[in-house]
């Protein structure tokens, strides 16, 4: 990465007394990059984001955004970013337009930027009180508030939560456009599919620790997928056992269940020697990704 990072954390740590926050998080995000922050609920994703935004203060370590200190220069940093908090809320009585008006004034922007365009695109009702909107429709307003001023950095905490599939597609398209524009996107998620589709790199966080930062394709190669295959001759077991990355789980009634991690090509070639009656490969879930990563590292 040659460009100056938009986000750079060094040993970023936040502890809440005896309970866990985040520990020694080191990461970099560059301009034009969509960075996925992947982890299960409670892993430390939101704590990291709130530390970047100076909503909470680190116990140790530091974070720099646009080369500025996240604590000392917080106001200057926030002038250049857009944020969608997790489980977005704004109070029940205000409408999206009222929220936009206040945020425009706080940002010193005349007009609503591209808010109207985004509202039309996401079919968002800017005039209805937020308390009367469904969760998904509220989330659309949150996205508009985060993006309307075309920030250099978008920080999005679980952005597609509550959005229907069509709107999720629209959201993915929007993130692609933001990347084209040169904006950096820091996106937290516990949905591997979402991260796989839009992110350039992924940081995996678990138990408050950043356990890996990988390019998405590398991450998926390390993740083990579960495959069920039924072969006409009931064989194939020996060939599969000989393929690197395959671990056979079960064989019964001519059906073989196995896991594989890594390159798919040798698996397909091994199976191609037989008459395949049925084949089902399931996408790895988050736990399987973590498992694959740990196994790759020789950890249990």
């Amino acid at each position: 990465m040659s460009a100056d990072p938009v986000i750079a954390t060094v040993g970023l740590t936040k502890r809440y007394g005896s309970s866990r926050g985040i520990e020694d998080v080191n990461l970099e995000v560059v301009p034009g990059e969509v960075f996925g922050f992947l982890g299960p609920n409670g892993a430390g994703k939101t704590t990291t984001i709130r530390t970047l935004l100076d909503l909470i203060h680190p116990t140790a370590g530091s974070a720099r955004l646009f080369g500025l200190d996240s604590r000392r220069d917080s106001v200057a940093i926030r002038a250049r970013l857009g944020n969608l908090p997790g489980d977005f809320g704004y109070g029940r009585g205000a409408s999206g337009r009222e929220a936009l008006r206040l945020l425009s004034q706080l940002r010193g922007i005349s007009g609503f930027g591209r808010a109207e365009e985004l509202a039309a695109r996401f079919h968002a009702d800017l005039d209805r009180p937020l308390g009367k909107l469904s969760r998904g429709n509220r989330q659309k307003i949150g996205l508009i508030l985060a993006c309307f001023h075309q920030p250099d950095l978008l920080i999005l905490d679980e952005p597609t939560s509550g959005l229907d599939p069509l709107m999720q597609e629209e959201f993915l398209a929007l993130i692609g456009e933001e990347r084209e524009r040169g904006a950096a996107v820091f996106l937290s998620s516990h949905e591997l599919d979402e991260v796989e589709r839009i992110c350039d790199r992924v940081g995996m966080v678990r138990g408050g620790r950043l356990i890996a930062v990988e390019r998405v394709q590398v991450l998926l190669k390390k993740a083990s997928r579960k495959v069920n295959v039924r072969l006409a001759d009931g064989g194939g077991l020996d060939e599969l056992r000989g393929v690197p990355g395959v671990s056979v789980l079960d064989v019964s009634d001519g059906r073989v269940s196995f896991r594989y991690a890594g390159d798919l090509d040798p698996v397909v070639k091994a199976l191609a020697r037989h008459h395949v009656l049925d084949l089902e490969a399931t996408h790895p879930d988050l736990e399987e990704v973590f498992l694959g990563y740990y196994e790759g590292k020789g950890e249990s």
């Binding site: 944020n83 908090p85 977005f88 704004y90 109070g91 205000a94 206040l102 949150g142």
Partner: protein, 263 residues
């Protein structure tokens, strides 16, 4: 800076526009009723009050009840209006800080280039304006009640009486900012402020009831609040309470800037 402050104060007043009627109307109607019934009960009341011990009359600000100003002070301005206004001020601040944190709005606002201390300042100024509106409506309705009943409430004394509530209640607003520096739960913020106002009243009362304890009154804001409807506004006390309120607000902003805003 001014643009952000103006925007936040305008938003505060817009969001809380209903409080003008929700608080000003009942307080004003109650005060209007009190002054309206005074002419019809004045004689009987004076006879009853004459029987009261002198200390008790002084403690509760009852006086001799020779005029409607004394009666309004005893019934409304010595306790009910200051406590209600102080509680309202705390609620007004809480809506911008703890309430905003509870609804998620605080996260959205602080994603913009808004210093936290400015948010605190705006909530304090917004509370001050909201409070002024409520007290003005209360005073106007009281004046109307007096006019309709021919109670003879003087406009000047009445204005002084209600105006004196403003800095006292603002101390509640300032204290609410301080408490928000520790807790972002609205019931805790308003509860502590309400408790502190009641405690200040009780301390002042104790000092009035027991001459040996009169010195404790110096620790209560109610001593400096006084009885403006009868004696006029004491400028130094008025300014002192305002300064105390501003000091609390500044301290609260300092604490708020340093605290974690957990999700």
């Amino acid at each position: 800076m001014t643009a952000q402050l103006t925007a936040l104060v305008s938003a505060h007043l817009h969001d809380r526009r209903r409080s003008l009627l929700a608080w000003g109307l009942p307080l004003g109607l109650m005060s209007a009723f009190i002054v309206a019934i005074f002419p019809s009960i004045q004689g009987a009341l004076s006879d009853v009050v004459e029987q009261y011990p002198a200390g008790l009359k002084e403690a509760f600000g009852i006086g001799e009840l020779n005029n409607v100003e004394q009666y309004l002070h005893g019934e409304m301005l010595s306790l009910i209006v200051p406590l209600a206004a102080g509680y309202l001020a705390a609620r007004a601040v809480a809506s911008d800080l703890s309430g905003a944190a509870e609804s998620g709005r605080l996260d959205v606002l602080l994603s913009s280039p808004l210093p936290r201390r400015r948010l605190c300042a705006a909530s304090f100024v917004g509370a001050a304006l909201e409070l002024a509106g409520v007290l003005l409506l209360t005073a106007v309705l009281t004046g109307i009640g007096s006019l309709l009943a021919g109670a003879g409430l003087g406009a000047g004394p009445a204005a002084a009486g209600f105006a004196a509530v403003w800095p006292l209640a603002l101390v509640g607003a300032g204290l609410a900012v301080v408490v928000s520096g520790f807790s972002l739960r609205t019931p805790i913020v308003t509860g502590i402020v309400a408790g502190a106002l009641v405690a200040a009243y009780v301390v002042d009362l104790l000092g009035k009831l027991d001459s040996g304890l009169s010195w404790v009154r110096y620790g209560s804001i109610f001593k400096y609040y006084g009885n403006a409807i009868e004696t006029g506004i004491e400028p130094w006390a008025f300014a002192g309470l305002l300064a105390l309120a501003a000091l609390f607000a500044a301290l609260g902003a300092w604490l708020f800037e340093r605290r974690d805003l957990a999700a």
